[in-house]
Symmetry: C2
Subunit: 477 residues, 2 copies
């Protein structure tokens, strides 16, 4: 009897259920016995390693250095910057017992590390010659969440957090914007995801920041997902921690601060953006396995041998390739299995292919079959990986464009949001009351005000007063 | 006025003070406001990144996969394996408040993750076809320590922990021994440190393990440092967590488990093993900067330009090179600074060198100066890096050999240990009472029983009874 692949919920039946089905059936993650703390299984963690490798290289190329700060912050230190505390205090995990003794100063498990970096900077910064300080760390952080979803919102998640100090506001803002560009380029070149980029409203900005910039994807269910943020802090945070330096003129100054981060939420973005009813669909350059070699009629003489030669050839060329020779599963089962795991190319090789000197390549993103000659195998595969990446990015961009609507009336806005249509591009007067009304009545939020401010109207979509700011509005995760 | 380099304690005056001086003056780490939780500064963290890169590659080549398990373990789950709990309970950090609410099941910040892996394995293991399971994770762990020292013993440290399951005892033991070999090879090829390897006594083995293997260095102060351990657990731990699988004969079996780890303690080993009174001395292949280019008389025309050409040439060849063009510090200050940081080669280039078509290379490990032609610069530097590595490994090996003493009487043992002479190689009858006496009276411990059991005597060095086991005995960190 053939072993059957487990099936998953269809996207149109229940997108949320489909999502968690894919998370588990593609073996990306598993739940642990503590709610909100997930297990990153090898396949899911390998995706994160590829994201890390790409981003770490870009950050080092732009002069950033990695450090590692403590997992814990004393409560007394944590309480130093009021705005920041207000934002994070309700969702902290607090350790109160160490080595069987009650702790006098309780320890906050870091929800983010602004406090730790600032405290440290206050001790190492002395002269303008030390600036800029461009530090980054890869770690896990804990935010005690009531509602959790794998990769999208967890009580623990993995991320990188950059924390930098600069001489001038201009330089600090440039840093925050430059990092946002690095995130954006990564999304385009590695994840095949187009972002909308812009400035957060005051209400939505990071606790303690002067300005928050964000990049957001638009998922096929019409909801936005904040994928990365960068913050310009001004000098308030450094001031609260007595961070200062001697400037070029010998006087004492407070440096300008930024912080920024992306997290394992990007894995969630990948799943939702590209997945289909057969499971995960991974863009080639972030896929842990780019090609899966499946021998057809593998019991026939010479098939396994040829399949291994193909595998070795691709591996030698630096392509991330795997081979499934297992004899307790049918070829059909294997097809479904690697479709579920989203491997970009399935390479089939059987007696007939061998006879003709061909192999068959099947594209995960659209199921198209291509027969290519063994002679130019590596070139054909490399070229097809590139094609797949471009097709996936185009599909996602087309979706973003066709699901972004210029909106001129509040009624239109409410309708769009109720139907989860995508982004509304609309004018806002800047009044927090109008922003609140949108959220209260549609549960959508202003995702960001794009850098490229091309007005679509001249009055606020909510109150009708004069408005100058174009916003992207959507429901979000 | 010339800026002076800060000086450090001399090793012979106070080895412990010298050690912490180097940790801080070489900018490897800094203290945070929570005792035992250190800040890994860029230079220190870069060393760890090089260790990680080396080891991660070896582990992947041998079939291991990376995962990430939660930071926390519920107390109820943690309490499942009695022996293990007994070992770790006294040094756990416990979170009792999450999101402003008191937690019903308190959360232990992971001191190690056997429990998490076993609980997970119980859910994913079903058939012998799934074995072996070869998982590893890179993370930080917390053990609440009373006495802490940077890198050597901290309440938080960074490490990798491998956790594997196997069909047979033989295969599991082979895994534990094979990983010990990987650690040993890394120490030899990357860290230039020779290890003594062997089996721990029952008293010294890991909480819950059937057998613990360890690799230990011998520092210039005559003390041993445990640098990595691997454990064969047998089936007790998996049994406690109901981990089982269907074997080749259709019956249900419990798998055999191993775990193993190395940590940022290796940075401590590097510092102590190779450092001198001028600071850190880093072996070339683990050094974040292998060559520092220092222009001499840099205000003279053409010097900076030539220095940059040299820098670019080495960089292009893949050598980790840096250049110090700063004009507010003298060349002498720079010499001391990069000596403190242990950069293996200082490359000096000044007007006279340029005229002659030479550069001067100065070896950090022994101060030797070599003049080499610009023409074969890359080859000369690569060859000198290799020479430095070999010299450093030889020096450390010679020290280990000349400070390992065959001991035949208890009096000799006590004398050696009191004088911190190094390793005593002595016979032990296996009686825990004799082991305890050594510890109580000399504060030295049995570090391990080497795999290569060449008896040095036939009676126990403590009680004089018949003895078959050769041990390495030393004081340890």
């Amino acid at each position: 009897m053939e072993i059957k692949n487990e099936s998953i919920t269809r996207r149109e039946d229940d997108f949320a259920k489909w999502y968690t089905d894919v998370c588990r059936k593609a073996e990306l993650m598993d739940y642990s016995s503590v709610k909100g703390f997930i297990i990153y299984r090898p396949y899911g963690y390998a995706i994160w390693e590829n994201i890390k490798e790409y981003l770490d290289k870009k950050l080092k190329e732009t002069g950033h250095q990695n450090v590692y700060m403590p997992l814990v912050i004393n409560e007394s230190l944590f309480n130093k910057e009021k705005e920041h505390v207000k934002g994070f205090a309700p969702e902290t995990l607090i350790a109160t017992i160490g080595g069987e003794d009650k702790l006098e100063d309780r320890l906050i498990i870091r929800p983010t590390s602004e406090v730790l970096f600032c405290e440290y900077y206050s001790r190492i910064l002395s002269s303008y010659r030390d600036l800029p300080l461009l530090y980054n760390q890869w770690c896990s952080v804990v935010r005690w969440e009531k509602t959790t979803r794998p990769f999208l919102r967890g009580s623990e998640f993995l991320w990188q957090e950059g924390h930098t100090l600069h001489e001038s506001e201009e330089e600090a803002r440039h840093e925050a914007l430059n990092i946002l560009d690095i995130y954006d380029t990564m999304a385009r070149d590695l994840l095949a995801i187009p972002f909308v980029k812009g400035i957060k409203s005051d209400k939505e900005k990071f606790a303690g920041a002067k300005e928050t910039y964000s990049c957001e994807s638009l998922n096929p269910d019409g909801k936005a997902l904040q994928c990365g943020t960068t913050h310009y802090f001004g000098t308030d945070f450094p001031k609260a921690f007595n961070v200062s330096y001697q400037g070029r003129d010998g006087k004492v100054y407070t440096p300008h601060e930024t912080s920024w981060g992306t997290s394992t939420r990007l894995i969630g973005a990948l799943i939702m953006m590209h997945g289909d009813d057969n499971g995960l669909v991974l863009p080639p350059y972030v896929a842990p396995t780019q090609v899966i070699v499946i021998p057809i009629a593998q019991q026939k003489e010479g098939v396994i041998k040829e399949a291994r030669l193909v595998y070795e050839e691709l591996k030698k060329a630096g392509i991330r390739v795997d081979i499934d020779e297992s004899d307790d599963k049918s070829a059909g089962w294997k097809f479904s299995e690697y479709e579920m795991k989203g491997v970009p190319i399935r390479l089939e090789i059987g007696p007939r292919d061998i006879e003709k000197g061909n192999v068959t390549l099947v594209k995960r993103n659209d199921g198209e079959k291509v027969t290519v000659s063994r002679e130019n195998l590596v070139e054909s595969v490399e070229s097809l990986l590139k094609t797949i990446h471009n097709e996936m990015y185009k599909k996602a961009s087309d979706f973003l464009n066709s699901h972004t609507y210029e909106v001129h009336s509040y009624r239109e806005l409410v309708e769009l949001m109720n139907e989860n249509k995508g982004y509304a591009k609309a004018m806002w007067c800047g009044d927090p009351e109008c922003e609140k009304k949108i959220k209260d009545e549609t549960s959508a939020t202003i995702r960001c005000m794009p850098f490229n401010q091309l007005p679509v109207d001249d009055k606020c979509v909510v109150c009708g007063k004069k408005a100058e700011k174009v916003c992207y509005i959507a429901k979000a995760y």
